[in-house]
């Protein structure tokens, strides 16, 4: 079990869980994420305009998908330099769960809260499709209730999602158990055919050293209700449930 160093058990009272979903200009999965948290998971989730975002009011923060600032310059680059990200960094330091989905992942990488970089897909095209990812670790705030090795059906939708990191840092990621999800085939094998965008080592999501900051390219909010899944699954929900469980236990 992973216990963040910045936190001691039992200091916080159980509260209604409050999660901020930050809206940058150009965010477009913000309302979807709020909807799923509120209606599917019963969390007190709020849409927060980036300039109104402060770190102290929230148990967790989610940076949703989209094209913040139009992804001009580089995906996520402009949002990463916004004052809101100072507050996100503060929350990360405090051990609170920080989740970046798709463009949110790009922003976390650009903010150096997560290692690596996200490059143009190897196909050079936008890809929208359902993929299978394998849960590589359950020591994070977002995978603690998911068995290691569990396969999740989940959609991707991006043009800059090819995870890149140099070989030495990749080994460090592996040694530190920071690779959270990998693209796999239906049998759970890491193979080239299952890699939709050319990511290094089929990486779909990584976390920080402490395990409270997660970035991933697939969209859990689009995979949290059976009606939306071609496979009748709701695997995205597991990620949010882990986050809730983590907050209940440690915050």
């Amino acid at each position: 079990m992973f216990i963040p160093t910045a936190w001691k058990l039992g200091e916080l009272e159980m509260n209604d869980i409050r999660v901020a979903v930050i809206r940058f200009p150009g965010s477009n999965c913000d309302l979807d994420t709020v909807y799923v948290l509120q209606r599917v998971l019963g969390v007190d989730a709020r849409l927060v305009w980036h300039r109104d975002f402060k770190d102290d009011a929230w148990d967790a923060v989610i940076i949703p998908g989209g094209f913040s600032y139009g992804d001009y310059l580089r995906a996520g680059a402009i949002a990463a330099r916004s004052p809101a990200m100072k507050h996100v960094r503060e929350m990360a330091k405090e051990g609170k769960p920080v989740l970046g989905i798709c463009n949110g992942f790009q922003i976390l990488v650009e903010s150096e809260l997560l290692p690596g970089a996200l490059l143009m897909n190897s196909t050079l095209k936008f890809i929208c499709k359902w993929v299978t990812i394998r849960t590589e670790t359950n020591r994070t705030a977002f995978t603690r209730s998911i068995p290691r090795g569990k396969l999740l059906k989940i959609p991707i939708a991006h043009i800059q999602g090819r995870y890149y990191i140099d070989e030495k840092s990749l080994r460090e990621l592996e040694d530190n158990d920071q690779i959270v999800f990998r693209y796999v085939n239906d049998n759970g094998e890491v193979v080239e055919e299952a890699n939709p965008n050319g990511s290094v080592s089929n990486i779909a999501g990584v976390c920080n050293l402490e395990g409270n900051v997660l970035g991933l390219m697939p969209h859990p909010e689009r995979a949290s209700e059976r009606i939306l899944s071609p496979f009748g699954t709701d695997h995205g929900k597991l990620i949010f449930e882990s986050m809730i469980d983590y907050i209940r236990r440690y915050l």
Binding site: N28, D32, G70, K125, K129, P155, A157, H219
Partner: protein, 735 residues
Amino acid sequence: MEQLQLSLTKREMEVIRRELGREPNLVEWGIFEVTWSEHCSYKSSRPVLKVLPTRGERVIIGPGQDAGVVDIGDGLVVVFKIESHNHPSAIDPYNGAATGIGGIIRDVLSMGARPIALLDILRFGPPIKPHSIWLLKNVVKGIADYGNCVGIPTVAGEVEFDESFEKNCLVNVACIGIGKRDRVIPSAAYRPGDLFVLVGGSTGRDGIHGASFASRKLSERSEKDRPAVQIGDPFIKKVLIDATLEALETGYVRGLKDLGGGGLATAISEMTSLGGTGADIDLSKVHLRESGMTPYEIILSESQERMLFIINPKGLDVIKSIFEKYEIPYSIIGKVTSTGRLVARFNGEIVIDLPSKLVANAPVIEREARKPRYIDELRRINPPPEPSDLGDVILKLLASPNIASKEWIYTQYDHEVGIRTVIKPGQGDAAVLRILDKNKAIAVKADANSKHTYLDPFNGAAGSLAEACRNVAAVGAEPLAFTDNANFGSPENPEVFWQFREAFNGLAYMARGLNIPCVGGNVSFYNEDEETGKIVKPSIVVVCVGLINDLNDIRRMALNSPGNYIGIVGYTKRELGGSEYYYWIHNIVGGVPPKANAVEEKKAIDFVLWGIKKGIIVAAHDISNGGLAISSIEMAISGELGFEIFLDKVPSESMRTDELLFSESYARFLIEIPRDKIDIFRSLSQEIGVPASIIGEVTEGRRIIFKHFSKKISLDLDEASDIWHSSLGKSVERN
């Protein structure tokens, strides 16, 4: 006037002079040229469009405003509209297609609705020539880059490849929105004293005279018209959508209109003309992208990402604070007046003073119509001999770009954003979008059949509407209303105008027969190449919206369980004229295409909707392009299950095997029925009076088997699936 090269006719110029009682100044001439262009005024098409039924108990707003509005109960409305961006896309496919998306989103937004889905309907030359592939790749990229960024899913569409679209590709885009019934905003200015607020991107010199450019044929000169293609900015659009939706919540927005063809001139004249009011505008207040712009350029600029708001002055500060929060530029450019005149000033001087109604209502042009000679010639052909290896023919057809899966295209579009997309591209006959927090969904689909319409405009257009309704019904939705986009050559050509008139008569016939109203539309003329004289095949694109009142009634096309029966609904006739089989296998565009019969269509649709409600239909797919053979194989590929079908059980005229397999007769569906529901199936077909038979069953093995008396065709499902999935992508990537 000579040096201005006005595209107004002599007669139109006389009307303007007579109505005004004076010579208009240069700016005023420019306004008439744009607002009286075919593109903005519908001056040729208006008398023809009148034949369509536009009323229905669910219709809140029909044709004539930015988009149609239809009641779906629970205080909610669906808002939808289609538009073409053919001309700009033929010259600059990337920006042309992208701005098409931008414009159609604004149309839906301006009715007070949240845009929730996009559809695009495309026509290109066969994807083997470099020019056609260049157009295809860039149009798709333009749609993808814009639609994905703006956060509205592209959920459905339709693509056809045909030589007539080689130079003149068709790019039609539709947007669907959802809103509250009591918050619908008119595209009109009703109250004098209200303020005109121009919101969004700054006004530049781009796109000036785009509307008049779209009212001409494509020619060598068109390359020089590139500045008439606007440049879009999806990021600004996204922020504009968010800000507009927030502004609408305040209740201070009294009117709203998208700035499209003809820019401010069209928007202001149409809003005041519809509202019976006038306007007093100060053009020097408009926020500009470049300095030194003349009043002529400012009022006619078609710069993208702009909306014109009519604001209750009491709420001005609230509205201003919203735009400031989103950092969106705006300018308060004038007032609604009671004068009925469109007055514009520039640096204190009056530069325009015209009656709104005159600007917004160009006189109708009565066009001559004559039946084209090609029709009788092409229809009179001898049927080609039946090929010996029909299995091979089926595999070839699966590879036809008109039949093969369009996943190379739709995987480039985000079709999931918004978390409403229940039936996604490739899964069913229509896209299904759930209504959040309700046990309800809407289904949307676009259809057109250019080859049928070319050979028989009346029946082809009627069939296009019927097919859209069938597709919506196949996923379990009751068709509610439709919108159409007509794509034709020059209306000045009597043969083209005949096609146009016939097509709308056919559309009206089917609309009345199915009792489904038209709530809006768009007409695109002049889709022809001046150099080669090639005219596009006439294409009536229909977008149908349907309602599903229970999420359990949603159906996909995938076969579900081995042992289930496969049934056919409807009667199969020897109708192969204009079929994909004739075109792709026999290289024939000719013959007599299917005849539309609204009574039969209605029965077939009723049967499917009732069958779904009663639980006897677990999968449904309409029969269209490629006939029974292709429809059944698509169900097999989607469900990864084989089947055995006995063609002699198909209710039909006496026909050859190839005719049974590939006839494109209308009013037909394939359905999957659980074995224990067979009695209900029989009694329902008798009750409704529709021919319906069990023709085969779903099998465990991965074989596709058709039997016709002693003949047997047996194909490997995996081989068929691979061909169908990969052919289009291979063709595009290879060339």
